[in-house]
Symmetry: C2
C-alpha cells in the first residue's frame, strides 16, 4: 500500500522489482535536469510496473501515485524462473509490454503531430476509456484526480495554455473541471476531436 503523491520508483535506482498495480492510480515520468517534466503514461489496475528496470537493471524513469495504491511485488530474481516455469505468464508479461508500446506510439503521434486541442481531447478520452476498461468508476462519470500541471506535463504544453485549452473543452460541456480533478462527460466526442480510434478492448491478461 502506497499513499497518494508518493514516489514509488525513482529514476536511477537499482532495486527494481516487478509490480502489478492492484488498485489505485500512478504515472510514469522523466525529468530533464532543469526541471522540465514529461509524463510518459499512466498506470491503472491491472498494469505492470518496472518491467524495464527488472530486465535492464536500472530504472530510466520515475513513478508517482495519484491515489493511494496497492501493489503486488514480483521479486526481480524470480523473473528468470517465470520464463522457465510459467511460459503463459511470461507470454502475458510480453503482451503487456507490447501494449505499453502501442500506447506510447499513440502518445508520440499525439505530442508530435496533434494540436493542443486535439492532444488534450485525446489524452482525456484515452484516460477515460482506460478507467472504464479498468472498472475504476462504477458510476457513469469518469473522474480523474489530476492537476492541470499533470495534464500539461502529459501534453507537452505549458500550464497556462493547458488551462485555456481545457476551458474550450468545458465550454463545449465535454468535460468539467473541479477540485483538482476532471470529470469526462463525452468520451466519444473527445476522441472525435482528436481524430482517434479508441481501440477495442481485446482479451488481455490479468497477471
Amino acid at each position: 500500500m502506497v499513499d497518494k503523491g508518493e514516489a514509488i520508483l525513482v529514476e536511477g535506482s537499482h532495486n527494481a522489482h516487478l509490480y502489478t498495480m492492484l488498485s489505485g492510480l500512478a504515472f510514469r515520468f522523466k525529468i530533464i535536469e532543469d526541471g522540465r517534466r514529461q509524463i510518459l503514461n499512466y498506470i491503472l489496475p491491472v498494469d505492470l510496473i518496472g518491467l524495464q528496470g527488472s530486465l535492464t537493471g536500472e530504472m530510466q524513469h520515475s513513478i508517482e501515485t495519484l491515489k493511494p495504491s496497492v501493489l503486488c511485488v514480483f521479486e526481480r530474481n524470480r523473473i528468470d524462473e517465470i520464463f522457465v516455469k510459467h511460459p503463459k505468464l511470461a507470454y502475458d508479461i510480453t503482451w503487456l509490454a507490447a501494449r505499453e508500446e502501442r500506447m506510447l506510439d499513440e502518445h508520440l503521434l499525439s505530442i508530435g503531430r496533434r494540436t493542443a486541442l486535439e492532444r488534450t481531447a485525446y489524452v482525456l478520452s484515452f484516460l477515460a476509456s482506460r478507467s472504464i476498461e479498468a472498472g475504476m468508476d462504477q458510476t457513469d462519470e469518469v473522474s480523474l484526480p489530476v492537476t492541470q500541471q499533470h495534464l500539461a506535463d502529459t501534453l507537452g504544453l505549458s500550464i497556462v495554455h493547458t488551462n485555456k485549452t481545457l476551458k474550450k473543452l468545458s465550454d463545449r460541456e465535454l468535460i468539467k473541471w473541479g477540485e483538482r480533478s476532471c470529470t469526462i462527460n463525452d468520451v466519444e466526442a473527445l476522441a472525435r476531436i482528436a481524430n482517434w480510434q479508441v481501440g477495442q478492448t481485446e482479451d488481455r491478461p490479468f497477471i
Copy 2:
C-alpha cells in the same frame, strides 16, 4: 530482402509475423487521416519488428525502409512455441520490448519538453550512437540516409523549421548535410546540447 523506400508492414494489416532486421535500415510511423505523419522509431540491425502485431493480432503502425534491408521471419503461430520451448529466447524478446519502451520514453521526453535545437541534436546523436552500436558504419563517420522530411516527422517539427535548425548545427560543424543524407561529426557534443545521457551499451541479446 526488401528494397529501399518500400513499405514492409502496413497499419491495420493482420498477417503480422515477427521479423528480425539482419541488415538495412527502416522506420516505424503512424499517420493521421489528413496526412500528418509521426515517425516513432528507427529499426537497425539487429532489432525486432512486429512484436505488437504478433501478440495483438493487428499492426497499429506502418514500416518503411530507408535502405535495402534483409529480414528474418518468425512465423506468428510459432511464437507460443518459443515461449514454451525456448524460455531464454522468450526472455530476450521481452528484453528487446523493454528496450524499445525505453527509447520511446526518451523520444516522448524529447518531443514533449525539448526545444527544436535540443530535439534535433538528440535525435541525431541517438541515431548516430545506435548506428555505431549496430556496427553499421565501419568508418569513423556516421551517415544517415534520411531526408529532412524524415527528420521533421521524427521531431514533430515542420520541414522548414527542421532545415533552419539543421543549419545551426552544421554552422557549428557538428553535422554535415549532403545528398539526402546526414553525416554526424560530433555525437557527444550533440548529446550535450540535448542534455542527454547516452546510455551505456549493455549486454543485449542477438536473437
